[in-house]
């Protein structure tokens, strides 16, 4: 016992006093922390709950000071005081967690062997942190571990506790200094799995030494394949691939036995109660091995590689370090990158994984990719993606069709990545150009059409032969739904191009006026080509399908983007829809289409007016002007629309060559009575339903449906009624394009 005393005294010459002080001050601080709001504390001063918590804190303080001074070999059964204090610690720990100062005291007692193992176990089990665990308390516990005053079971329990609460320890520098001590515990067969886990959490690159690797390999030779050794060795491989290597079998899922023990649930409860953002448990990052099917030959299976460190550079790094010993140009292993804040902290020494393809499934790396301008990363991705798409394409490669689901998932992933980066991949573009002529329009349809929407904008247009021709063939021969999907993806393609253009306008300043002008004219041509293509296929599709509203909706949706290009995207280009689209929409039986058309024409007007004003106001001659043909076309359409919706004069006044103009003689032959009034907001087939409802409301007793009653003041009421029905497009159109001077009075 003399020996023991000496050891104790050497271990704690100054510490007890210090701890004592700390305990007192910090405990009171912790108590105050419970009621930060002074007003609230005054209000609640007399409340029973507060008194209760005050008394709890007092009893915890008593318990801690009891455990600090407790004598050797106090029996639990006979000692009521010990029982009382133990219960206090347990109940407070489970309810609200222990304050940082509690850990030093309780760990010292539990590991010193003063008390019986049942007490020690209960104490260890109650070590649930309320906030953090001071590193010093852990360090002194490790020294208790080294003198092995406690039983093997307590040692194991302590290690399991340490693993579970590892992330709650406030600092880890001193713990890292103890790496060698922990490593020596590997000899103990029972402790080995837990020590491996702990080392796994502690290991840094500088911890990996050849002698340690040899020691682990010796253990491996002695104990055979053990998952905990594999995990630690594979971490060593990650840091030093030039020293050791290992291939993990694909089947393995867990590398460490469940060491969470009784604490995890309590920690979660406490965290939920305290509602703090305490550190999250880091998942183990050994996901490298993937199951491989035996059926297919090598390298003919679609596998997106896992993120792993670029081993290729490690040796070069070592050489660099030799030159500059004090630099910390260690790169951060991508396997450890789990959170966005890690990304921010390590962005200066992060390296892309050894296989670029792995970024597709790693959003953090995609963020990182977004901030780098390195050409080589795109080239690596380009090669990998290009080869994978070609190799896996289910309709270009024979016998691949059984893997359609896999390929679909892959295309889906590629598409999501493009959306994330807001940028199309050129490998994907090339793949589409190569494979679309062979595509049946069915296989992976939605994936392919989505990828089409991310075809990058290039000033040099190869679109016609590569995209439009094969797409048109499929478009005309496929179902209505396919047609709508194609229109939808072409609309997104247009929007993506326009967005790209806007971003480049912002980023490229006036310094590059010349190159901008040349690219701008290229851009205008490519965009115009797309819009003309859509106009053409829409015209044909409306005729083939007999003008269904559903199709018209998708077509007009496309033109909602087109009509606003000048103002919303700053592109000096406006193209009117062809007559084959305009007239079916104008004469549609459906108010939805008509309303949409009204809105589009209103936006065309706004854009054209703005362009005209710019033209007039600027002294400089503008590079781009809308041709007079655009204005002329717009005016022709407007005359037809006003005639159709307002003045009932469409047959007389429409001057568009493909328009509605008809001779009175011809109209008389139709034997329609009052053909002159048969097109306005009352009689238009898309509007007549509203007119009927309006009549029913305005003249409930009249059953003759006398539409001619809607005039004068009633006409205005009817308009208000229509606006109230949600026809906002009609409203903005009428308010902007129809001169209502006569009505105003």
């Amino acid at each position: 016992s003399e020996k023991m005393q000496r050891r104790q005294s050497s271990k704690t010459p100054k510490q007890p006093l210090q701890i004592h002080h700390k305990n007192q001050t910090d405990l009171s601080a912790w108590r105050k922390g419970g009621r930060i709001d002074p007003e609230k504390s005054v209000q609640n001063h007399q409340s029973p709950t507060n008194q209760k918590s005050d008394s709890k804190q007092a009893s915890l303080e008593q318990a801690l000071s009891y455990f600090e001074k407790v004598q050797d070999h106090v029996s639990l059964k006979k000692n009521n005081v010990l029982q009382k204090h133990l219960t206090t610690v347990e109940s407070i720990a489970l309810q609200r967690g222990l304050p940082p100062e509690g850990f030093g005291v309780l760990l010292n007692v539990a590991l010193s062997g003063k008390l019986a193992d049942t007490v020690n176990t209960r104490l260890l089990k109650s070590l649930v942190p309320a906030s953090v665990i001071p590193e010093t308390s852990v360090v002194s516990s490790v020294s208790w571990l080294c003198v092995s005053k406690c039983s093997g079971n307590i040692q194991l329990l302590f290690l399991r506790w340490l693993i579970t609460v590892f992330d709650f320890i406030d600092h880890k520098e001193q713990l890292h200094a103890l790496y060698g001590f922990f490593f020596s515990f590997l000899q103990d067969e029972k402790m080995c799995p837990y020590v491996c886990h702990l080392l796994y959490l502690l290991t840094r690159k500088e911890s990996v030494k050849p002698f340690r690797i040899r020691r682990l390999l010796d253990l491996q030779a002695k104990m055979g394949m053990q998952s905990h050794l594999q995990a630690l060795l594979s971490l060593y491989k990650l840091f030093c691939p030039e020293l050791v290597t290992i291939t993990l079998p694909g089947k393995m899922k867990t590398y460490f036995k469940n060491s969470e023990g009784p604490w995890k649930a309590a920690i979660n409860t406490v965290r939920r109660r305290n509602q703090e953002n305490s550190p999250v448990f880091q998942p183990l990052f050994l996901g490298a091995a993937q199951p491989q099917s035996r059926k297919r030959k090598w390298n003919t299976q679609l596998i997106i590689p896992a993120s792993s460190t670029n081993k290729n550079n490690l040796e070069e790094d070592r050489e660099k370090n030799r030159v500059d010993l004090y630099s910390t140009n260690e790169s951060f292993p991508v396997e450890q990158l789990q959170t966005f804040s890690q990304l921010l902290q390590n962005i200066h020494h992060l390296e892309f994984p050894s296989q670029m393809g792995s970024v597709l499934t790693n959003p953090l790396l995609l963020h990182y990719m977004n901030c780098t301008k390195d050409e080589s990363i795109y080239l690596r991705l380009y090669y990998w993606m290009g080869q994978t798409l070609q190799e896996e394409c289910t309709w270009c490669v024979a016998d691949n069709n059984q893997y359609e689901e896999e390929f679909k998932d892959f295309l889906e992933t590629v598409y999501k990545t493009e959306c994330f980066l807001q940028e199309g991949f050129s490998s994907c573009e090339e793949f589409l150009y190569k494979s679309l002529p062979l595509w049946d329009g069915f296989c992976c349809r939605s994936q392919i059409l989505r990828l089409v929407s991310w075809i990058p904008l290039s000033s040099f247009s190869e679109m016609k032969s590569h995209l439009y021709d094969p797409l048109a063939q499929l478009f005309f021969t496929s179902s209505l739904y396919f047609k709508c999907s194609v229109l939808e993806s072409l609309k997104e393609l247009l929007q993506n191009w326009l967005n790209w253009h806007v971003i480049h306008l912002d980023s490229e300043s006036d310094s590059q006026v010349h190159s901008l002008n040349t690219t701008l004219s290229g851009l205008v041509n490519v965009v115009a080509e797309l819009i003309h293509f859509v106009g053409w296929i829409s015209t044909v599709a409306l005729r083939l399908e007999n003008n269904p509203t559903f199709l018209l909706y998708f077509i007009l949706d496309f033109y909602e983007t087109v009509c606003d290009m000048y103002l919303r995207y700053n592109l000096p280009l406006l193209i009117m829809p062809p007559a084959g689209v305009f007239y079916p929409a104008l004469l549609s039986m459906d108010s939805v289409s008509l309303n949409q058309l009204c809105y589009i024409m209103y936006r065309y007007r706004t854009n054209l007016v703005a362009a005209k004003e710019n033209e007039l106001s600027k002294t400089k001659t503008l590079q781009f002007k809308f041709s007079s043909q655009t204005y002329q076309e717009y005016n022709q359409y407007i005359i037809a629309m006003v005639g159709c919706l307002w003045t009932s004069s469409a047959f007389q006044k429409d001057i568009h060559p493909q328009g509605l103009r008809m001779d009175d003689e011809l109209l008389k032959k139709t034997t329609v009575q009052e053909f002159k009034t048969s097109f306005n907001i009352v009689y238009h087939p898309a509007m007549m339903g509203y007119a009927v409802l309006f009549l029913q409301q305005a003249w409930p007793d009249d059953t003759t449906f006398n539409f001619s009653l809607i005039k004068g003041k009633k006409w205005n009421w009817y308009l208000e009624y229509l606006y109230a029905q949600g026809l906002k497009g009609l409203k903005v159109f009428i308010e902007s394009s129809i001169n209502r001077v006569s009505q105003a009075s």
Binding site: L243, V244, L248, N299
Partner: protein, 285 residues
Amino acid sequence: DPQRTAFLLRKQWTLYSVTPLYRFSDARLRDYARLLSAFIAAEKQKGLAVEVGVELDIKVSVSSLPDLKGSDQDQAAILVQLSSRSAASSKNSEEKLIWSGWFCCVSGDDLSENVPEDFTCLPLFLANGGESYTSIVGSWFQKTFDCCFRRLAISPLNLSWMAAMWTGCKVDKTASAMELVFSVPCLPQPLNISYAIHPEDAKALWDTVQKTPGEITQEEVDVFMDCLYSHFHRHFKIHLSATKLVKVSTAIASAHCDGIIKFLQSQYLTGVLMLLTELAISQIQ
């Protein structure tokens, strides 16, 4: 020096195309051999860790073959050889070569001119030995240099080019017959037709077809093949144009549409490799 590439002859090589290797360095071939050998050991005993640098059952050597180049821009070819050491016998016992593979680029300027410095263009890979080793070595290269391996098949069109080109080559010794193998499609059982031609007859035919020596056009190749087809039809009433050309064997080399090649003449080795490099590049781009 034909001696130094003689070991490449008369072996069946399976062809692969390889995208440019990222951060590959000629100066570190020894390191690569050490790492690859540990990787192979780890792959073969999945789950057991292997120390890098210790002597293992399979020895790996990575070396450079500077002779296999078309132009100065070409990267020197890289040879990877795996040999096994039998544990029982003594250290001096012979190592047995169990697998070999090589990367090369002969006149691959189309590719190498367009990639940044960090990349090494060795677009053609040829492997001889068990596919399990090809898979391990290939995976290691893919992981280490972020490249992509793909089997390189040879289309019937390219096979007919080879037939024409190789017919025109001069060979010193009395050459073996030229053989074309055709496969008849859409049959329940596979049916192959072998068409053997005396090399001098074939050469005579080709000489009448080729207009400018040293230059070959698609039209000439078509005419050459059509002549062979009509000759065959005259005798056997079979239209070979309706079948698929699957294999071409000449004294220069033999090539199978599955992407398998055998070199027979060292003087034409780089010539054949140039064509294969071109095919590999077109598969990459």
